[in-house]
């Protein structure tokens, strides 16, 4: 156990602070089309200084530094403290770019990575289908060969940002006769191709939050065969390398949320008495603090494993499940603390913190389900982590 960060990182931390003091943007960095110029300028500046796309090679539009997890931790800490986004946590940079770095051709990397990191090209992810959620590999959207093209027909759902993305990375079935995991290919598809229809999918949290979900319909959509990433029929394997990445990034800042909850309990009153005075609510708050501290220190343990290049084993598999449930439970206490005013929403009179906690509650519920449901997580923990047997396949009728 040694929780000191080596002194050689002090200079790096100072560098980050100086950068933020000088360049810190005044307004929020939006993801919509109307904010294109502002966003591209900010992300380009970050890449130039090495705070975004830090380890991506220069020839693909990155900064070209060696990977160093502690530098990442320091950058995240300092940007968080300054309340400034370090880049853009959307699916292009977080999911597609690592995929292209591992599986893309030289031409694909040169063409897509730079503009994606700079926010010039926004991506959406075409994975889930109405009939293929947890059982993603059963997906049915087809791509049939026609000359130099594939022709796509089918439907995708839960497609974040499809309404304003220029490109889509999509999983389609190219080999219908192959076994379910072996007939899938990973394609890159411009969203302005004829035959694509995007319909917004309003979620339970309404208009609050940056995540817009959509359904996307494909009717005879043509995409050149050259747009396959990796080998044809290997899309499942390719997608899986980045799905793991998605689960790892669904990480809540549990301690920060807990502190916000504690402040709410101090300021909220009923009958003129602070809710923090109530032993009942206080006990719940303390229970959550123990869980939040557990997840914080668990994160440090996971980070150490990454630094040492060791697998954390089952301890790593539980992170998503526990963090998402903790977020939901913290929101639940916050709402209870506000009592009958806790349900106020949508700019109502007396609404607290602009409806933050109701939105956070619903958003957390979405995270419990999204990126692999809690039940799928438990299967993974039990089967891969504890070595319990898989459920036998039902006999075919």
């Amino acid at each position: 156990m040694d929780l000191e960060i080596d002194a050689r990182y002090d200079a790096f931390r100072q560098e980050v602070r100086d950068f933020l003091a000088e360049h810190r943007p005044k307004g929020p960095i939006g993801l919509g089309q109307e904010e294109d110029e502002h966003r591209v300028h900010w992300l380009s500046l970050l890449i130039e200084h090495g705070y975004w796309g830090r380890t991506i090679p220069k020839e693909y539009g990155g900064y070209g530094a060696e990977p160093d997890l502690l530098e990442t931790v320091i950058m995240d800490e300092e940007f968080n403290k300054a309340g400034v986004p370090r880049g853009m946590a959307v699916q292009g940079p977080t999911m597609l770019v690592p995929t292209l770095l591992t599986h893309g051709t030289e031409e694909q990397r040169k063409r897509w990575i730079g503009p994606t990191m700079r926010g010039e090209i926004m991506w959406c992810q075409g994975y889930s289908e109405p009939g293929s959620g947890s059982d993603l590999a059963s997906l049915q959207t087809s791509a049939t060969e026609d000359g130099d093209d594939f022709v796509i027909n089918g439907q995708k759902i839960w497609t974040s940002s499809a309404d304003h993305a220029q490109m889509c990375f999509i999983l389609v079935r190219t080999e219908p006769e192959a076994r379910k995991h072996e007939g899938i290919s990973y394609l890159l598809l411009p969203m302005d191709t004829p035959g694509i229809e995007v319909q917004p999918l309003r979620t339970m949290s309404g208009d609050i939050g940056e995540n817009s979900f959509n359904q996307v319909f494909f009717s005879d959509v043509r995409v050149p065969k050259a747009n396959v990433v990796g080998k044809r029929g290997e899309g499942w394997k390719i997608a899986n390398t980045t799905l793991k990445h998605e689960r790892a990034t669904l990480n809540a800042n549990a301690e920060g949320t807990w502190m916000r909850l504690a402040r709410l309990m101090q300021s909220e009153t009923v009958g003129g008495v602070s809710l923090m005075e109530s032993p009942v609510y206080r006990d719940r708050l303390m229970r959550l603090q123990a869980r939040a501290l557990s997840m914080k220190h668990h994160g440090m343990r996971m980070l150490t494993c990454s630094l040492k290049n060791e697998s954390p084993g089952v301890a790593g598999l539980v992170v998503k499940l526990q963090n998402c449930q903790l977020s939901f439970d913290m929101a639940a206490l916050a709402i209870d603390v506000m009592g009958e005013l806790g349900a106020l929403y949508d700019h109502s009179r007396y609404e607290r913190e602009r409806g933050y906690w109701q939105a956070y509650s619903m958003f957390s519920l979405g995270l419990i389900i999204g990126g692999g449901t809690a039940q799928i997580q438990k299967n993974i923990i039990a089967e891969r982590g504890l070595g319990l047997p898989r459920e036998p396949k039902p006999a075919r009728a």
Partner: protein, 362 residues
């Protein structure tokens, strides 16, 4: 930065687990539960030879001079094997107290602890919970009153006793005016007692020792939490092993999602709690300002998830888990008893809130 165990710590854990598996298997624990006092001196002497009894005793006094995280790992192994021993009182709480109090007498006792020749109990229960009118006072230099649930005091040679809230005294178990009655709990592997003092003479009295007593409680809470962690680990291992061999409806029961999700939930609670415990134990030495809060949270949290894991693991076993023969109950009861020994979860959380200024000190 390195948030994890060192090579030495892994080796300590491995050595101790190997020793316990060989020397104190569950059959031996079953024998010990029939004894008047389950804390067997032969086992204790063997642990002394391994350097375990003096894990926290300074090297100058013949101990290993290690840190609380090392003691927590020992405790975790003892909990994992449900080994009856006075480790919590004699090797953790007493040495933390005696080393701070200092002086020739304390040095001598520390040497005895490390050698395993002197076993200490502690009677601090009334610092956090007064029931049955218990409490010990000094009257003309002599101890009067009683203390409940004194840890490892039955079968000990000496006892460190809280007198009021600010004084500590060391008493011989066989001094005139000292009566030690074992208080039988559900857990046959941990020895708790009632100490009654009727004008007993103390070997030593330390006034102004409230701060020392607080540190003893902090250390005790973290190390007791580690015992529960180890017991939970063992219960999960047994549940998983059983789910891999037991068949019903022509299937291994571990292939049913209902059962595998129970197993997943147990380990999902346990692993982050392990991280919390490591941090709390590390903080005790490296960041003592954080230890009061973290010791409360570590024990309260482990006690909460411990109760759940103890129940769920038993349920995975079905009816056989409920039998004496299956042995699972040894762990269940160890966890159940530990839950309230150094402050139950509610009291610990109330204290955690006070420490952060969220509530007035009671």
């Amino acid at each position: 930065m390195d948030f994890g165990l060192s090579e030495d710590q892994l080796l300590l854990e491995q050595t101790l687990r190997g020793f316990l598996a060989e020397q104190v298997p569950i059959e031996r624990v079953r024998e010990l539960r029939e004894k008047d006092c389950p804390n067997d001196r032969a086992i204790w002497n063997a642990l002394a030879e391994l350097g375990v009894t003096g894990v926290l005793v300074p090297e100058a006094r013949g101990g290993a001079g290690l840190r609380l995280l090392d003691a927590a790992l020992v405790s975790q192994s003892l909990g994992h094997a449900v080994t009856p021993s006075p480790f919590l009182a004699s090797s953790v709480m007493a040495p933390v107290g005696l080393a701070s109090l200092g002086g020739a007498e304390c040095d001598g006792w520390l040497e005895g602890i490390a050698a395993g020749t002197q076993v200490f109990g502690v009677a601090l229960n009334e610092l956090h919970s007064v029931r049955e009118g218990a409490g010990v006072s000094l009257d003309g230099g002599r101890l009067r009153g009683k203390s409940l649930m004194a840890l490892d005091a039955y079968g000990a040679d000496l006892v460190l006793v809280a007198v009021g809230t600010d004084t500590l005294a060391v008493v011989r178990h066989d001094a005139p005016g000292v009566e030690t009655c074992r208080l039988t709990t559900v857990d046959a592997t941990r020895c708790t007692a009632e100490l009654v003092f009727e004008g007993a003479e103390a070997e030593a009295v330390f006034e102004g020792a409230g701060g020392v007593a607080t540190r003893m409680l902090e250390a005790g809470r973290i190390v007791l939490a580690a015992d529960t962690l180890g017991a939970c680990e063992a219960m999960i291992e047994q549940a998983v092993a059983y789910a891999k061999e037991r068949k019903q409806f022509d299937r291994l029961i571990g292939s049913f999602q209902a059962v595998k999700h129970m197993c997943a939930e147990m380990i999902a609670e346990l692993e982050p709690a392990r991280s919390l415990l490591w941090y709390a134990a590390h903080a005790f030495d490296a960041m003592p300002d954080e230890a009061p809060l973290l010791s409360c949270h570590a024990l309260a949290h482990l006690s909460e998830i411990g109760r759940e894991i103890a129940s769920v693991s038993t349920q995975v076993h079905g009816g056989i888990g409920w039998t004496d023969e299956q042995n699972l109950h040894f762990w269940f009861k160890r966890i159940a008893n530990a839950r309230h020994l150094l402050g139950g979860p509610e009291a610990l959380r109330a204290r955690a809130a006070e420490l952060q200024g969220f509530a007035k000190a009671s």
